[in-house]
Each structure stands twice: as structure tokens, then as C-alpha cells.
């Protein structure tokens, strides 16, 4: 989905609030929120793709206003409700107030039916697909052409795995793009490497 989470290349954000040796956590509840989602994944309540998609479905105002671990907790709580562990009403009763959750899940999709294999050196184009469900591809490479520079072991196809849709594991390719091909006349010269699932790619001529 083309949500607000897909931030790569978006303009209007200011200077990075960088400090040397910045903390990962600012409060004890953040540590616990992180552990809770990891615990739920380990116990098989949901998988990482379901978790990422649950965060992406947050109301955009909530997503942008919440810190990282509030987003994490919201994804976790949404899935606890959707998996039938608790109702939203019960969760709010336990929390003693409103507990905002993510929006509804849309449909997923399977791998492409005729997979093409690629090799380092191949020129590839990211398919110009727009899907309502989960997709693990930053919008800034959609329709763009790059070169395969590496291949990773097969992973579950996220567009299916986030939705309980039957799917094959498939390789991801390290695809190298020129920043000036991604944002002509409006980027610093650099090479941008993205891990792209096979189903998102087609051969470029």
C-alpha cells in the first residue's frame, strides 16, 4: 500500500536530530513494547510481515504523531484483536481509556505465476504495480531500472505472507539504482541499493 510509512525520498523533512551515541530506548515501557511484539512473533501469534503491515495500516495522523514504539505497540495490539485474543472493547477496558488501533486489512496477492530468475549484472525494472495490501517495496523504485548486484536466500513473499495467502519463498535481489535515475535533477549523486523480491521485477532491455 502507498501509505505514509513509505518515506524514502519524501521531501519536506528537516535536519536529522542526530546526537552521537543516541539511545535506542527512552523509557522502560519502550523496552517492554519491543519485547512484547518479539515475544508474540516467537510464540507464533503472527509473523513479521503481518506485524509490519499492521503498522502500515495505522491512521496516517496517528502514524506520523506516534513514536517508533507506540507504532510497534499499535501493530501488536491490532493483531491481538484480529487474531481473536481479545476484543477491542476489552482491550480498552483493560487500558482504562481509548486504545487506537490500525485500519482494516486489504487483500493480499501470491507470487507472480511465471517467476523469472536473475543473475548479477542483469538489468531489471521494478514492475509498475499498485496494490492495496502489504508490499515490501519502497515506492521510489517503482517503474525504475537498476542492475542486480547480489542475490539473497529465499524469503516468504511479503505480499502473501502478511495476509495468510499461500505463497512460495522467493529470492530477493540487491538491485543498484543511480539516485539520479530515481530523482532526476533533484538528488545527491549516489548509488542506492534496495533488496527487491523477485515478483516485483521484470527483465529490462
Amino acid at each position: 500500500m502507498d501509505g505514509v510509512h513509505d518515506l524514502g525520498g519524501k521531501q519536506g523533512f528537516g535536519t536529522v536530530r542526530y546526537t552521537f551515541d543516541a539511545p535506542a530506548f527512552h523509557a522502560q515501557w519502550e523496552v517492554r513494547a519491543n519485547s512484547l511484539y518479539a515475544f508474540a512473533v516467537r510464540r507464533g501469534v503472527f509473523n513479521m510481515d503481518e506485524y509490519r503491515y499492521a503498522i502500515e495500516r495505522m491512521d496516517p495522523r496517528h502514524y506520523l504523531g506516534a513514536g517508533y514504539y507506540e507504532r510497534s505497540l499499535t501493530g501488536l495490539a491490532t493483531l491481538c484483536v484480529e487474531k481473536g485474543l481479545v476484543t477491542h472493547e476489552e482491550l480498552e477496558k483493560r487500558a482504562g481509556g481509548a486504545f487506537p488501533l490500525s485500519g482494516r486489512s486489504a487483500g493480499g496477492r501470491s507470487n507472480v505465476s511465471a517467476p523469472q530468475r536473475f543473475q548479477p549484472g542483469d538489468r531489471v525494472r521494478v514492475r509498475n504495480d499498485f496494490v492495496p495490501g502489504h508490499v515490501r517495496m519502497p515506492g521510489y523504485v517503482r517503474g525504475k531500472t537498476g542492475v542486480v548486484v547480489g542475490v539473497s536466500p529465499a524469503y516468504p513473499f511479503p505480499d502473501a505472507h502478511a495476509h495468510g495467502v499461500e505463497a512460495r519463498d522467493e529470492p530477493t535481489y540487491d538491485v543498484r539504482f543511480r539516485s539520479q535515475d530515481l530523482w532526476p535533477d533533484s538528488s545527491d549523486p549516489a548509488l542506492v541499493h534496495v533488496g527487491v523480491f523477485e515478483s516485483y521485477l521484470e527483465r529490462a532491455t
Binding site: H5, G8, F13, L36, R52, G96, Y155, D188, A190
Partner: protein, 197 residues
């Protein structure tokens, strides 16, 4: 003026406790599991792990080449942790002419068991949105001014492959013991937003 159904949002700590209580009541027995994870996130998954890999790579050319060709195997050889869903570790070697930097524009994924849970700025929208498009400018703002002819490579962690930067060894440290070398390596150099002097 209020509406009949308006309910203020519960404090975040209360929301965390509510979810925890649900897992407990549904029989997941979270007590031990959660304290183990709390401990790991703060004490076990730390940048000192990545620093040990770097120090060994600087000291031992054969290990360096194993680390660069198969990161997962080299990490296992050192007895360091990586979760099962990180099936591939790509170690990115900085050289005088090439500078690597990692990010995750879609969420904030990292090789957290090796470089620690990500620092606040890594998760912020400013870094996630800008580093892929304006890497040289952003790095400069963060205190790293790279020579104009240095090639910048940005690695966006969009699949479950993980990345770690292998910083250049400061010349003054050649011949140091591995323990001493490891102390030179910072988390930010493993992410690629700083270089070591």
C-alpha cells in the same frame, strides 16, 4: 462541549500493560520470555558484537574475506547471535573511495543483534526520508563531510537481508590487539554515518 462517546486515549504505559495482560490471560506465560527479551535488547544485542567482528576482520585477512563473502557463517563462527529470519548478512567494506551507509526507509530494520537496537535518529522520519535521496547532504549535516570524489552507496533494508558496514581501520591502530581495536568501533560507524579516526 463534549460528545457522548468521547473517551481519552489511555496513557501509553497502560496500553502496554493491557496487551501484556492479554497475553498472560491467554496462556502465553510471558513472564520469563519477556524478561529475557528485555535483557537481550539492552545487554546482549549491542554494538560491541559488531565491533568484535570488525576488530577480527582488521586483524585476520582470512576472516575478513569470510566475513565479506558469507556474513552469516562468519557471525556464527564468532558465536554471535542472529535471529533465524535474518537469512543473509551483507558486510559492506568502506575504502578511501567508497563509503557505505545503511537505512530502512519503510520501517527501521537493522542487524539489531550485531549493532544494537537502532538509535532514535535512525527511526526518525528525517533520516528515513532523506538519506536515500540526499545522502551526501545528510551525512554532512550529521558531521561526516566526505571528499567530492568518494562514491556513496546507500543500502535500504527493504527485505530480511541485513547489512553492516565494515569501517576503515584508522592507521594509528595497526598492530593493536583485537580487544583494543574493538573499543575503537562505534555503532554509528557500523551504520555508516561516521568514519573512525
Amino acid at each position: 462541549m463534549t460528545t457522548a462517546h468521547f473517551k481519552p486515549t489511555a496513557p501509553i504505559e497502560a496500553r502496554v500493560k493491557a496487551v501484556e495482560s492479554v497475553l498472560r490471560d491467554r496462556g502465553f506465560e510471558p513472564d520469563e520470555g519477556l524478561s529475557q527479551l528485555d535483557h537481550a535488547a539492552q545487554e546482549e544485542w549491542v554494538p560491541q558484537n559488531g565491533a568484535r567482528l570488525v576488530a577480527r576482520a582488521w586483524s585476520d585477512p582470512a576472516f575478513r574475506s569470510r566475513l565479506l563473502s558469507n556474513g552469516i557463517a562468519a557471525v556464527a563462527e564468532m558465536g554471535l547471535p542472529m535471529p533465524r529470519h535474518h537469512r543473509h548478512l551483507v558486510v559492506l567494506e568502506n575504502t578511501p573511495g567508497v563509503h557505505n551507509v545503511i537505512c530502512c526507509s519503510l520501517c527501521s530494520c537493522t542487524a539489531f543483534t550485531l549493532i544494537g537496537l537502532p538509535p532514535d535518529w535512525y527511526k526518525d522520519f528525517e533520516y528515513r526520508s532523506r538519506i536515500v535521496r540526499e545522502a551526501r547532504t545528510v551525512l554532512k549535516e550529521m558531521g561526516l563531510a566526505l571528499p567530492a570524489d568518494t562514491e556513496i552507496r546507500v543500502w535500504d533494508t527493504t527485505a530480511d537481508t541485513r547489512y553492516m558496514v565494515l569501517p576503515e581501520q584508522p592507521p594509528r591502530s595497526v598492530g593493536w590487539a583485537e580487544d583494543q581495536l574493538a573499543q575503537l568501533v562505534t555503532r554509528d560507524s557500523l551504520i555508516g554515518v561516521s568514519r573512525l579516526a
